[in-house]
Each structure stands twice: as C-alpha cells, then as structure tokens.
C-alpha cells in the first residue's frame, strides 16, 4: 500500500520511503519518517499531484513520488 491507495481524507502511518535520494532526504527532513501519521488531503483537478498532510503541514507531491511512500494501518511495527 502506498499513499496513492488512500481515499481523500483518509489517514495512515508511514512505513518506509524509497525513490529519488534527494526527495527522500527532503521528505525525511520534513518529518516523513517511519511511524508518522499521514493524511491524503486533496488532489489536483486531473488527479496529480497530491496534497498530503504531515505533522500539521500540507505538502504537494507528485503521484509518482507518492507511490514510493508505503504506508501501514498502525503506528507499531
């Protein structure tokens, strides 16, 4: 499961992130790390990019990058 599989408004927890190294580093600096709650808040009119909420802030990321952020249902391992 990745962030792309969430319904609008649905919440989950980050499991792991992969993909472009720079983007990973940036997402992690913004607190996108294992166990963090994430919410899919919105999508652009044509479905891409997406708005996700991390630690109280909204961020816009592209679908292809969101696919690389895998999620889980509970905070624990």
């Amino acid at each position: 499961m990745s962030i792309c599989d969430l319904e609008l408004g649905e919440k989950a927890y980050i499991h792991s992130i992969a993909g472009n190294e720079k983007l990973m580093k940036r997402l992690m600096a913004l607190g996108c790390i294992e166990g963090t709650e994430v919410c899919l808040k919105n999508s652009a009119p044509f479905g891409d990019p997406l708005v996700i909420n991390l630690r109280g802030c909204d961020f816009c990321i592209r679908k292809k990058d969101a696919k690389n952020i895998s999620i889980k249902d509970t905070q624990e391992e």
Binding site: L23, K25, T36, N42, A44, L54, R55, C57, C60
Partner: protein, 588 residues
C-alpha cells in the same frame, strides 16, 4: 560590528521580521555563484543582520541550503536568529536541532504566537529555552511588543549560549524528531481541536475540481487588468506624457542655444532612450504588487499545484507557470519572478522560454502590419502569433529538457502554507525591491546603449548627418543580406529590427522615421502579405530587447545572456524562413 544570521523555514514570516528589524536600512544582492537572493541590513547601525534563504534543513542538497551552510561554517555569524512558526514547532525545530551543531548561540524567535494560541497551543517558553539551550522570544501578530524585546536582546548581546546536557548530534531524522517530540511533550500543552481551519475552508473552494482553473484564470485576469488597464499602463501613459510633452519641450528651450549635436544627444539619445524604459516602471511595479500579493497570501503555491501536470511536460514544475504568464506582459518582470522557482535549472529554463511569450511591446507592430496587410483578419493574425510563441515555448521546453538541462532533476515538493492576509508594508517593500533593481541595472545599461544608438544614427565618418546616411544605415546595408531568404531585406527593415533591440515598439518608431510619410502606405509597397507575416514572426521571436538581456545578465550572468541572444536569433531566422518558404509554396 557583530553579525547575526536570520534563518528559518519558508513561510514563517522571516522577511517580515527582517523588515521590522532593519527598516529601510537594507541591501539586496545575490550570493556568489548562485541566483539566491542575499539580503543584508542593519539594526540601529550596531548589528548587521544577514537574511539567509528560507530552508527546512541543512543537508538536503539545495542551493539555498549550501549558501546557509557555507555562511555558518565560515564563522561569518556571531549568532543565529532562528525564526520558527509557533503553531508548528515540531517541524520548525528540526532545523533548529541542525543549527545547534554549529555551536553558535541561537535566539529562537517564536513567531505567530497569536495563531498558535488560537489553535489551543500553550507553550512554556522558559522550559523550551532550557531544553534546547537557546534564548526564546515570542512574537505576535501586532509585533510591536515582541520586536522591542527582541531588539533589546540583540543589542544587549546577553543571551543564553551555554550548551545544554543534550547532545545535538543525531544519527538520523528519526532520532532528531523523537528528541523534538520528547521536548515538546514537556513544553507544550495542546488542546486538541478538530475544528476546520479557515485554510481548509478556502482550499475546499480554491482547489475544487471544477472551480480551480476558472478561479486561477480569473485571478490572473484581474492582475493583468490591474497592470495593463487599471493602474500600471495609465500611470505609464501619464509618465510618458510628462516626458514627451513636459520635459522635452523644456529641454528643447533650455538647449536651443547649445550646439545641435549636444541637444540631439540629450533629447533623442538620453531622454528618448532611457525615457522609453523608465515609463515601463509603473507597469513593472503594478505587476509585482500583484505577484507579491499572490505570494504573500499563500495562493502562489496553490497555482503551482494545479498547473504542475501540464508544466511537467516541458520539463518544468507548476511554479514556472506564473513567470510564463507574466511574460505576456513584459519579459523583464517575468524573468525576475523566475527567482521564486526552486531550482537553478528551472529558473534558467524558464528564463529562456519567457521571451517566447509575446510581450506587450510587440503588439503595436503586429497591430499595424495586420491592419495594413490582412484587413478583416487582424485578430486571427495577431492571435496566431501569440499561439506560435506558446507552441514554440512548449516544443523548446521539451527540447531543452532532453538536451542541455538533462541532468539535475530537482525533487518536487511544495508546502501549501496557510492563507494569510498580506501585510501592506511587506508588499510595498517586496515590490520596491524589484523595481529598484530594474531601475538601477537596466537603467545604466540602457543609458549607454541609448547613447550608442543615437551616435550611430546621427553620424557618419564625415560628421553629423541624417539617418539615411548614418553609420546605422551602413550597418543596415551590411546585415540586410541575411534577411534575403526571409523576404524582407531592405536596409530600412534591417535597421528597424536593429533599433528594435532597444525595445520592440521602437521598430515602428524607426520605420516611421526611415520610411517617412504615411507608414501604412509605404509598408504596402515594401512588403507582400507573405513577407509581412514572415517579418512579424521574426519580430515575435528574435532577440529580446536590451532590458531583457540586461535582466538575464543580472540574474544568470553573461553566458546565459549571450546564449539567449543567439538562440533566439537562430530560432527567429529558422522559423521565419520556414514560414516565408511555405507561404510562397502554398499561396503563389
């Protein structure tokens, strides 16, 4: 004098604080080697404050971060003013934990305390100060109280610098965030509320699937109206009236007794050349006021968000859409507004594509030619030129993306900040910053080029003469052969195009002088329909005016400016050639 580095995340009110601390006592420039704005200012002439770019972390490889990092490593700062958003300490303090590693005393400014209080967040300042080993100063929207405290602290120079027991070397992001969470657990009392924030409500409308695009274009339309019909252009018209009907007659009187070459230099050369650029200032200021409003209110990030998908096709991100749209007005503010883009690559690619958006100054040329050669079809002809520009920008975007700008793929991630009403003072400061830069740099260059063109058009090797026998005419004759394949090779046209480098609307002025009489009639005997269209295509695409070249040089350096000149010249030649030849093939 001591130096303080002002540092913090984007969208936390850093620039606003900088303006409050330094007032008008600031200097704007660029950091060496990168197009990252460098701002310095002074507090009471006793403390130098350097505004470092807004960043989220020190180690995620952006130009902005490298600039900040180098500044701290080089020990240029005696202490750090770290401004954070009090309503979102968790993420903001991540940067603080990284700043701690530099062992420079930190003053933590908690901004927007009022917002955080309204969200039910209570912060224990002294406990926070103790846990992080930094001085803490809260500031609220009204600012006055907090700012005075901060100034006192800064000038007094007595603040917490003792290291805490905590070790600020974290293995990874998770450790740092775990530490921040543990500190916040102690220092913050948060009443959880599920109330919808005003930002969520506005976003529901602004990002609505059906309304998003119409609203976006309505906002752009309003800014264009503001710039080109309500405020900017009328002011520009007034300014040019003052110059043409006020200043020039006065100068004519004053200079009536001086030698003709001197009065010609002053009036035709300097006032004519520099004046034609100065009159753009109101347009540029209006446009930037509108753009600053979009930026400060938080809408710009939303525009980037909804335009991203389309822009990605040409190798740019959604953010680059705004400069391209501004380009329809004037390429100068458009290239300057490319500054707001994330990466160097995006800024350069955008700047190269911006001049293909047909600017305001080219419109008079289209209008006259269309009326003369395509009566009844003026709108179609003019519209086709705009469309051609857009299509070429798109094509070249794809081309550049897969060739010269291949490497350096920047990750795309934009914060959608909370909406807020822009502060008037900040808007003005923002706008004036840009306008000042335009006046200073473009002004000096335009001044010298105006004098040069005046000289070339007024003299030949035996002395002062009329334009038909001037050096400019000889140059026109010299370059005109390259226009033979394009269908408009007279020296008059060549010279007009050459003087069009000053500003594209000058093309008409020059033609008026050179051809004399009724321009529309003389054009009919000098062009065919096909060569007229080929000429218009050339006007659309060839080298942008000196103001644009000067801006390009100022923002990106000589190499980019020269590249821009030659690539557009070749592009214009090739496309005009194709248009002319196809036209002959199809219609003759």
């Amino acid at each position: 004098m001591k130096t303080a580095a002002l540092i913090g995340n984007p969208n936390v009110g850093k620039t606003s604080l900088f303006n409050y601390l330094t007032g008008s006592n600031q200097y704007v420039g660029n950091w060496a080697g990168v197009t990252v704005e460098k701002k310095e200012g002074f507090l009471d002439n006793k403390l130098k404050i350097v505004d470092l770019p807004g960043i989220y972390a020190m180690d995620t490889f952006s130009n902005e971060e490298m600039v900040a990092k180098k500044f701290l490593i080089d020990k240029e700062a005696d202490f750090i003013i770290n401004i954070v958003d009090a309503s979102n300490l968790e993420r903001n303090l991540y940067l603080t934990t990284q700043l701690k590693e530099y062992n420079i005393p930190i003053i933590l400014v908690l901004n927007m305390i009022d917002v955080s209080e309204s969200k039910g967040i209570e912060i224990n300042y002294s406990l926070l100060s103790e846990n992080l080993g930094v001085s803490v100063v809260p500031i609220s929207a009204s600012k006055i109280k907090g700012i005075e405290d901060l100034k006192k602290l800064l000038l007094g120079g007595i603040f917490l610098s003792a290291p805490t027991d905590n070790d600020f070397h974290f293995q990874n992001e998770k450790e740092a965030y775990d530490f921040i969470s543990s500190v916040l657990l102690k220092c913050i009392n948060k009443k959880h509320s599920d109330k919808k924030t005003s930002t969520e409500i506005i976003d529901r409308i602004v990002l609505n699937k059906i309304l998003a695009y119409p609203l976006f274009f309505l906002i752009l339309f309003l800014i264009f109206k503001f710039t080109f019909s309500w405020v900017g252009q009328p002011l520009a018209g007034f300014l040019s009236y003052v110059i043409d009907d006020g200043l020039i007659p006065v100068l004519n009187n004053l200079l009536s007794n001086s030698s003709p070459w001197f009065s010609s230099l002053i009036i035709n050369g300097i006032v004519g050349g520099v004046g034609s650029v100065i009159v753009f200032l109101p347009v540029i200021l209006s446009l930037f006021l509108g753009i600053s409003f979009l930026e400060d209110s938080g809408y710009m990030a939303r525009a980037a968000f909804i335009m991203d998908k389309a822009m990605r096709k040409m190798g740019l991100s959604g953010k680059a859409f705004i400069p391209l749209i501004v380009g329809f007005g004037c390429s100068v503010p458009a290239i300057m507004s490319a500054r707001t883009l994330e990466s160097e690559k995006d800024r350069k690619l955008t700047a190269l594509l911006v001049p293909l958006m047909s600017c305001n100054a080219r419109l008079p040329v289209y209008a006259l030619f269309a009326a003369a050669f395509f009566p009844g079809n003026e709108t179609t002809v003019v519209f086709s030129l705009y469309l051609l520009g857009i299509l070429l920008a798109f094509t070249l975007g794809i081309l550049f993306k897969s060739t010269i700008f291949k490497k350096d793929e920047e990750p795309f991630i934009i914060e959608l900040p909370e909406y807020k009403a822009p502060e008037f003072k900040n808007l003005l400061a923002h706008t004036w910053d840009k306008g000042k830069g335009f006046l200073k740099k473009a002004g000096t260059l335009i001044f010298s080029i105006s004098v040069a063109i005046w000289f070339l058009s007024s003299f030949n090797f035996s002395g002062m003469t009329d334009i038909n026998h001037s050096i400019l005419a000889s140059i026109g004759n010299f370059i005109s052969p390259i226009f033979i394949p394009l269908g408009f090779s007279s020296w008059q046209n060549s010279v007009s195009l050459l003087t069009g480098l000053m500003a594209k609307e000058v093309i008409l002025g020059s033609m008026g002088v050179i051809y004399g009489g009724n321009l529309r009639v003389s054009l009919l005997s000098n062009f065919t329909q096909i060569s007229a269209y080929s000429f218009l295509v050339f006007v659309l695409l060839y080298t942008p005016c000196v103001s644009v070249i000067a801006t390009m040089k100022k923002e990106f350096g000589n190499k980019m400016a020269i590249f821009s000149v030659f690539y557009q010249l070749s592009l214009a030649w090739i496309v005009s050639f194709i248009v002319y030849r196809l036209g002959i093939l199809l219609f003759k």
